[in-house]
Structures are given as C-alpha cells and as structure tokens.
C-alpha cells in the first residue's frame, strides 16, 4: 500500500513537471524590433495571432529602443545570444553583411506567394551593390516631408515652400527670438541624419555617384551642407538649442508653437493631427531646383540572422508580417509607416490621407543611404558629432563631410 502511494506520488510529480511542456511549440523564435510608440499594442496582437495560427512556432518579441538598437544587436549577435529575426534598417545592411551575419533570403522569397505584390523597386533596398541576393525583406518605409503651420502661413500670406529660397524666406518671416519663435526645427541631435540627408539630396548633393564612389564631400555637397549649417549660424532661423535637439525637442517645439516648420515622416502624422488638428499642413521637402526634387527614403525591413537555428520558421514569421492583412493593420497603427504592398497602398485609407499621399509621391524620387559598411557608424555617431561641431563653427562644412566620407569608407 505504502509502495503504491510512493509510486503514485512520483508519477503525479512527473506529470506535473511535464505538463507545461505538453502544450508548448516545437520552435521558439526570438524576434527583435523597435517601436516609435512602445505603448501601441498592435505588434503584440499580431504576434499573438501568428502564434495561434502556427502552434508549432512560438514567437517571443523583444522591444529595444532605436537609439540603442544597433549597438544592442551587435553585442547580442557577437555574444551568440542574438535573435533569430529582427526588424532592421537599410543603414546597417552593409556592416552586418560584411560580418556574415545576414541570411540570404532570395530562395525563400522565390516561394513566397505575395512576392509580386511588393512595390518592385523596394526590393533593391534590401540588396548590397554588386550582389543579386536579397538580405532584407521590405516591410515599412518612409520618405521625408515637411510639416508646416498652415494657420501661420495663411496669416502671413505665404504658400507652402517649394524651393530652398521660399523655405528660407518663410523661415525668416516666422523667426522672432524675443517671442521664442523660429522658422524651422533643425535636428542636430540624435537621429538628425535623415532630416539632413533629405535636405542634402533636395539640394542636389549625393552620398555616392552612379559608379558607387563616395561623393558626399564633393564641392556641390559642401555648398548644400553650408546652406544647411547657415540656417543655424548665419540666418539664425532655428532654435539656439538646434545642435542637440532630437526628435522629442523638435516635435515638442513644433507642437508648442515655437517653430513654424519641421521635417519628419508619416510615422508622426497621427500624433501631429491629434495635437494640432487642421493647423498642420504637409508638403514635399523644398528643392534647390524644383525641376529636380528629391527627398530621403529609408526602409525598415526584416532580416533573418545566419547563426539562427530556425531560419525557415523565422522567414515564415517575417513573410507573414508582410502579407496584406497584417501590413494594413501595422500601417494604420501609431507605429505605422508606408506599406510596401501595392494592394495595401491602393486602399482608400492611404490614397485619401494627405500625409500618406505626399509621402508616396516622394517615393518616386527619393534617395536613401547607400548600404556601405560605414553607414551604421555614421548614423549612430559620426554624423551627429560632426554636424554639431560644424554648427558651432569648430569645423568647416568641408571638414565635416570629409569626416563622414572617411567613416563611410571605414571597414
């Protein structure tokens, strides 16, 4: 009797220990991402849905702030504890590809049924020059545009600026330091490199030429950069805090009525409308030559890391995220950007939305960072330090661009 009791107790214990694993998935997938608005639950809802549709896979998400994303990812992968798949920027492709950390995706994409729905030229943003292989699955993209205070412009009898000249005239009109008012919210601090690149390419400068040579320190680029620096140092049409202003400061100043214009993308449009209603207007980034408009484009896609033991499952998840229903849900959320699928982009919700419309128009002539190994370092550090030094007059426009060119070449 006693023996039976002991046996039954042991059996029960064993059953209880084994119980949690009975309902578990075969593969656990680690997925990293950043969210501009971490309070938005859309991604968690999508992941829950994927997990319920695919009981053999359990996706676990980790949200890392964009500011530290590149560094944390590099450390985790280097320590062998990185994710299987991750949200990724085109900025980092060259660097991570050089370190052999990215899984080639072309063969997986070939069998993915929705591949023809992706806006064709966006595939190129997941490639390395000289290679046919796709390393990043397109997911969301942004093009930079200009927010402006429609009510102020109407009051001053001005139209939204289409050229550099009109932009500067408007900025001067609204600048009144005594009343803490400025024409434009220049972002010299963290993350300001995209805004800067939008103005650089709109001014006619390029990071690389058609042959792939680095030309960011060409005489043309030096001139455009000098014009950008002068907004702070010569024309003084931006807040004095501009050298260190990051997203929070630039957005806060625009919403508080301190600045009349700021450059950003559709990702902040919901917030802008919430705060300013119909006082906020949107227009393309002004161009030096209106016949040759340009703006900055950046893609956030998804990658699978080569050390992953669950590459097929990882692709299954990232491709599922890119399918129309999920794409539409993500794009409409507070973290939403431009959808990469034609079928979604043609929906009324996007066509009738002014912010989406201006962004999509910009995609026709937008230019991104080239996938060079040094872009990650430039975007996370070099640009900011040298932009600030140039704004403060410690170095010249030429010296700033020489530093960036040097870092882009660094391997």
């Amino acid at each position: 009797m006693k023996r039976t009791k002991v046996f039954l107790s042991l059996f029960l214990m064993l059953f209880l220990v084994a119980l949690p694993s009975l309902g578990q998935a075969d593969t656990t997938l680690k997925y990293w991402l950043w969210l501009d608005d971490p309070t938005d639950t859309t991604v968690s809802e999508l992941v829950d849905k994927f997990n319920s549709l695919h009981p053999e896979i359990r996706v676990v998400i980790e949200n890392v702030p964009l500011k530290d994303y590149h560094d944390q990812l590099a450390i985790a992968l280097s320590a062998g504890v990185g994710p299987d798949a991750a949200r990724f920027k085109d900025w980092w492709l060259g660097e991570f590809r050089e370190a052999d950390l990215l899984e080639p995706l072309s063969s997986y994409i070939g069998e993915w049924p929705a591949k023809d729905d992706v806006i064709p030229n966006l595939w190129n943003m997941g490639k390395i020059p000289g290679e046919e292989e796709i390393y990043m699955m397109p997911h969301q993209f942004i093009t930079f545009y200009l927010y402006y205070r429609k009510d102020w412009f109407t009051e001053a009898g001005l139209n939204s600026p289409a050229t550099f000249e009109e932009f500067l005239t408007a900025a001067k009109t609204f600048t009144d330091p005594g009343n803490n008012r400025y024409g434009f919210g220049l972002r010299g601090g963290d993350g300001g490199q995209d805004q800067w690149l939008a103005f650089m390419v709109a001014g006619g400068a390029r990071v690389v030429d058609e042959e792939g040579n680095i030309v960011i320190n060409s005489p043309k680029a030096v001139d455009v950069n000098q014009w950008y620096i002068d907004l702070y140092s010569k024309y003084k049409v931006v807040p004095p805090s501009a050298p260190t202003d990051a997203y929070a400061q630039v957005t806060g100043a625009f919403q508080a009525g301190i600045t009349a214009m700021m450059a950003h993308h559709v990702g902040s449009s919901v917030l802008m409308v919430e705060k300013l209603g119909d006082k906020v207007g949107v227009c393309p980034i002004p161009a030096a030559d209106p016949k040759n408009p340009a703006t900055m484009i950046t893609m956030s896609g998804n990658v699978v890391f080569s050390p992953s033991q669950a590459k097929e499952e990882a692709f299954k998840f990232i491709s599922w995220l890119t399918e129309p229903e999920q794409m539409d849900k993500w794009s409409r959320s507070r973290n939403g950007q431009l959808p990469v699928l034609n079928s979604v982009a043609r929906m009324d919700h996007y066509i009738n939305n002014e912010f989406f419309r201006v962004s999509m128009e910009g995609a026709d002539y937008a230019i991104g960072w080239p996938p060079l190994p040094g872009v990650g370092y430039v975007s996370s550090h070099v640009w900011q330090v040298n932009m600030q030094r140039a704004l403060l007059g410690e170095i010249t426009s030429q010296e700033m661009l020489d530093e960036i060119a040097r870092a882009l070449k660094e391997r």
Partner: protein
C-alpha cells in the same frame, strides 16, 4: 605538534577566505586582465573572430588623437568641479543639519532624495529643466530679468558640461552631507565646550576641532566620490551624449562610444586602461597628500 598546529591555524583563514578570493578573481581580475589583453588587439564587436594582434598601436593612436586630449581635459574638469563643489555643498548641508531645529528629522530624510533617485531620471529631469526652448530654468531667469532670451544650456559648448555638472552636484552632494553629518555627530561635545571656555570662536572650533576629527571620513568619502565621479557617465550620456561635438565627452564616455558606436573594442579598451592607470596615480597622490597632512596635524 604545536608547530604543526600553528601552521594549520595559519592556513585556516586562507581556506575560509578562498571562496571570496575566487569570486573576486572571477568578477574583478578576469575582466581587468581581459581589458588589458583586448587593448592590444584590432577587434570589431561584430567580427570578434577576425581579431588581430597589433601591439601598442591602439595606445599610439589614442595618444595622437585630438579627441582623446579633449576628453581627458573634460574628465579633469568634470572630476575636480563635481567632487569639490559636492564637498563644499555637502559640508554646508551637514553643518545646517547638525543644528537643532523643528522638523530636522524630516529634512534629513528629504535630503537623501536626490542621492536615491535613479541617474536616468535625474538626467531626464535636468534635461527638460535646462531645455533651451521651454525649460523652467530659462523661464525663471527670464522672469527675474537675468537673461533676455532663452539660453540652450546643453547645446552650447561652453555650458554643456557645466549643465551636466550641476545635475551631478545636485545628485551627489547629499552623500557628502550625510556622511559628514554622521562623522560630526561622533565628535565629543566636551571638546567644543573646552574650546569655548578657552575663547575659540565658531570658525576656530570648526577649523581646529571639527575638521581634524572628521578627517578620516573626509578622506574616504572624497576618495570614493573621486572614483565614482571619474567613472560615472550615465548623466552625460543621457543629457548630452557627449556633445555638442565633443564638448562634454569624458574618457569613460569616449571609451563607451568607441566600443558600442564604432564597435572598436581594442581602441575602447586602451582608453579604459589609460583611465584606470590615470585614476590610480591621482588617487595615490591624493592619499599621500592628505595622510601626510593629517600626520602633521
């Protein structure tokens, strides 16, 4: 037998301390040795397998870098400025808190709030207070007529480091106040009474009784603060990120940026090793100076 026993007794403490020593070796000695080793390699954080031995090249490059000297100078200003001001403010605070008045206990408790507040919170709080567009400090200064227009404290090279130092002083001064107060409370009242009878005024009592009596506490707290402040970069990282330009970059921050932004671990280790040696030299000099002084007294 006695000799064998005494030898055994000699080894017992070692045996008992062995786990602690092993633990120390593991968590202190290993990273130190590893840092020194890495400083002789050209190694990228993304490609650790492709590390290459380069001898003293990282040190030579560091000593030829203009940014390094800027960071060294900033570090010296940061350490001396923060610790000395914290000491003076802490001493004044301790003397105030030593006085008997109503609500003294509550005030003593409240004094510790800045010290107990997390660094990131302190940094964010001061960043917004010093903000150049709508910071409360600018607003107050403008209302009382000290400034005409808002000053971007953290965006100007000549005020950025100072702005972060103010936050650090606010956070660190309570530590000095509490430690010095505790030491002052242990000084015998009889000494003050005797000095008073001999005609010593408050200043003389402070200088000839209080200071010598609390000197050991001053030495140890200042030394601890020197080490902590020298290695402390949380506030700078959050408030300015070392900018604008390199105007608030200190050595530990430069090492961090080199390792985690540029991903060059070898060069970052060389900076860290230099800082450790530099700090050891400064501290040994400081200890000798103060110990020599207290012996003379």
């Amino acid at each position: 037998m006695t000799m064998v026993q005494s030898q055994k007794e000699r080894y017992i403490p070692l045996f008992l301390l062995a786990p602690a020593i092993l633990l120390m070796l593991l968590i202190v000695a290993y990273p130190v040795v590893q840092s020194i080793r890495l400083s002789f390699f050209d190694i990228s954080l993304l490609m650790p397998a492709r590390a290459k031995f380069v001898g003293f090249r990282n040190y030579v490059e560091m000593l030829h870098s203009e940014t390094f000297y800027r960071a060294l100078l900033n570090s010296i200003v940061w350490i001396i400025g923060c610790v000395s001001t914290q000491f003076v403010v802490g001493m004044l605070g301790a003397l105030l808190l030593k006085c008997k008045f109503k609500g003294n206990g509550i005030i003593r408790g409240l004094t510790l709030i800045p010290w107990a507040t997390s660094s990131v919170l302190v940094a964010l709080m001061w960043t917004w207070m010093l903000d150049g567009n709508y910071g409360v400090i600018n607003d107050l200064l403008k209302r009382v007529g000290i400034i005409d227009s808002y000053i971007p404290w953290l965006a100007q090279p000549n005020t950025a480091l100072g702005g972060v130092m103010i936050a650090n002083i606010w956070q660190g001064a309570p530590f000095f106040a509490v430690m010095l107060l505790a030491a002052m409370q242990n000084v015998s009242e009889e000494l003050y009474e005797a000095a008073y009878i001999d005609g010593a005024n408050s200043w003389k009592q402070f200088w000839y009784i209080t200071i010598p009596s609390i000197m050991p506490t001053i030495i140890i707290t200042t030394m601890l603060r020197l080490i902590w402040t020298a290695n402390y970069m949380d506030l700078i990282l959050v408030m300015t990120g070392g900018g604008p330009g390199y105007s608030s970059t200190t050595l530990p921050l430069l090492s961090y940026l080199t390792a985690y932004k540029r991903l060059r671990v070898g060069e970052a280790s060389a900076i860290a090793v230099f800082q450790t040696v530099f700090l050891m030299v400064v501290l040994s000099f400081y200890l000798r100076l103060l110990q020599g002084q207290s012996k003379e007294e």
